[in-house]
Amino acid sequence: MTKSKAYIGFITPGFILYSLFMIVPLGFAIYYSFFNWSGLGSMECIGLENFKRIFFDPRMSRIFNNALGNNFRYMAIAVFVFIPLQILMAYLIHIKIHGHNLFRLMIFLPYVISPSIIGFFALLVFDPNIGILNNVLLGIGLNQLVSSWFGNPSIAFYLLVVVIGWNGIGVGMVIILANMKNIPQDVVEASIIDGASVWQRFWLVELPFLEPSIINVVVLSSIFALTQFDIPFIVGGLNGGVNGKLDFLNLMFFRYTFGDAYFGETALGFGAAISVVVFTIILCIAILQKLVFSRLFKR
């Protein structure tokens, strides 16, 4: 192998593994999406019927739009609420506020707990009859605040966002914090000498340096928001909670693809169509974000 072709040797193992576990399954998912197939027995080619059902069947499109809407709502909260919070927390730790080490540990700790366990904790706290929260509220006489929590359609979604946020907010914070530690100190010191306030220093000097980590956190948070499954499944059940308030695309995919033993029904063809749609949405959003960021931070 000539020196100029050496890269092929480095790329090949990764490329083979990536193709085997990503490209090939994706190809199969696209292929199956054109079939009516339970996963067993004969496969009936039905063209685009599965996709038509997702988008145009009145009932199915309602379920799909509701789930997609929940994904987008969560993504918006993740990007516009969680990321500013993550930057703020990272900054507070960076400037070493009192107790910053404990603060960092407290924020990051929930991330090391499995989402399934987090979901279980949430049930222990928020169960209307036996949960800790209602019992505490009743115990201190705040009966008017007692609620069915995840069973209350007006607050269930936001409660879920809080639980997921508590679980994962530390990751973005750590990424941003790592970036903050690499900001050239001479620039920061120069701004101090020039008389910049703490706010000016952060906004005008340090924040622009955080561009790479913020872009990463935005992309990762968006993908995470569009692939929600475990905690909504545990706290809301397979059918997406009360009035579908906790329904997400992945939950819908699981419900229709595998059903459950009681349903006695699996629909791998239809499920494959849902997965193709979800993949396309994620891909489009990732491309859109890339375009927006490349324009926004164009130098």
Binding site: S38, G39, L40, G41, S42, R59, I63, L123, F126, D127, P128, N129, I130, N134, V146, S147, S148, W149, F150, G151, N152, P153, G236, G237, L238, N239, G241, V242, N243, G244, R255, T257, F258, G259, D260, A261, Y262, F263, G264, E265, T266
Partner: protein, 415 residues
Amino acid sequence: MKKTMVFFIVCLLAVGVLFSAGQKVVQDGEPVVLSIWEHTPQFELPLRNTLERFMELNPAIKVEYEIKTPDNYLSLLTTAIQAGEAPDLFWHHGTATTDMANLTRQGALMDLTDHIDVSKYSQMSRDKVTWEGRVYQTPAATIDTRAAFYNKDLFEKHGWSIPKTFSEFEDLLGKIKAAGYIPLSLAGRDNWNILFLFEPILAAMYPDWIIDAAVGKARIDDPRVISAMNKMIEWAQKGYYGEHFLGVDEAGQYLSFSRGQAAMTVAGSWTTTTLINNNPEMKIGAFQIPTQDGQKPIVLTYAAGFSVYSKTKHSEEALKLANYLTSIESQQIWVDGLGAIAGLAGVNSGSDLANEIADANLELESFYNIMVLYHAEGESPTKVWEEDNPKLFTGMVVPETFVKTLDSMMDYPGL
């Protein structure tokens, strides 16, 4: 030195020969290992007891069981069959759902017709395991139903008695609520527990509709079904399931009953052992919600057993196990382990509580099974029911439109 070396080599060879001979003896004496899958932890105890007895009787066969969870059982089984790696025996729904049709079409099930004797079982039980005239599954002697479980201590303390009519039952709910308890704990976010409450209400209010619908002669959008749904919703509005039942899951439903917060809960008969084992100090009773004229209707579904994988490498041993699973002895162990109601002559119900549950005089088909039996080709009313029934309580779905949607997915043979 040379002699010593030779001596050592000879010794090593001798030990090697003896060891390999010993290994051969162990291999010959090793039992054949069968694998079996069950779909829910609730059936672990009866399965374990049954298999232990089978292995006692057949020391040359070892059976290893795996308990899966209902939410992914079918997908795991399907994947295993596709990969040619399915267990030797596995549970499925039989003809109650599309399981049997799919699995036989795929050639995944061994034809057991000439290998097991199902003649002693009832016709309903045999129907559950028979497809196109051939038997593909072991039948089960357990009858599944739903019942109102109640806390006997609370009933005694407050002087409440088991209702004899539907009106008395409604009055009782009011009295319990007035006494500060949850009359009927209910998992409002779990569509299955809502079904298990709705079916006894429908059976108690309109048994005549179920009798007609069971033979395809009554529509689902019948005013009687709407009326039963409205009754279930009315009880929610009166707070009979607790003020915040919409956020309660199945575990929460049982726990509030166990902790004495709820005086009653309506649940499946298969939960009997779970309720007894988790509440050893609690005196639990059970009854069927009565009709207005004092009848005691019971919604019945027959359970199904295990199929033998058509590609099993141990067909002789697997058939031996299938045969045992069909026997009276095995069924008695199963019924005892589950505390279930027996549906086969020679098998006694598993507990006093099971006998209380079975104290009924009107056997009725399940509402869910009616949807399974008479759904139109390519339609799945059960899925719509499962997705939307909790929405009845929030008003997002109203009974009139809900039953219309279900009805549009049905094909009634008697109409």
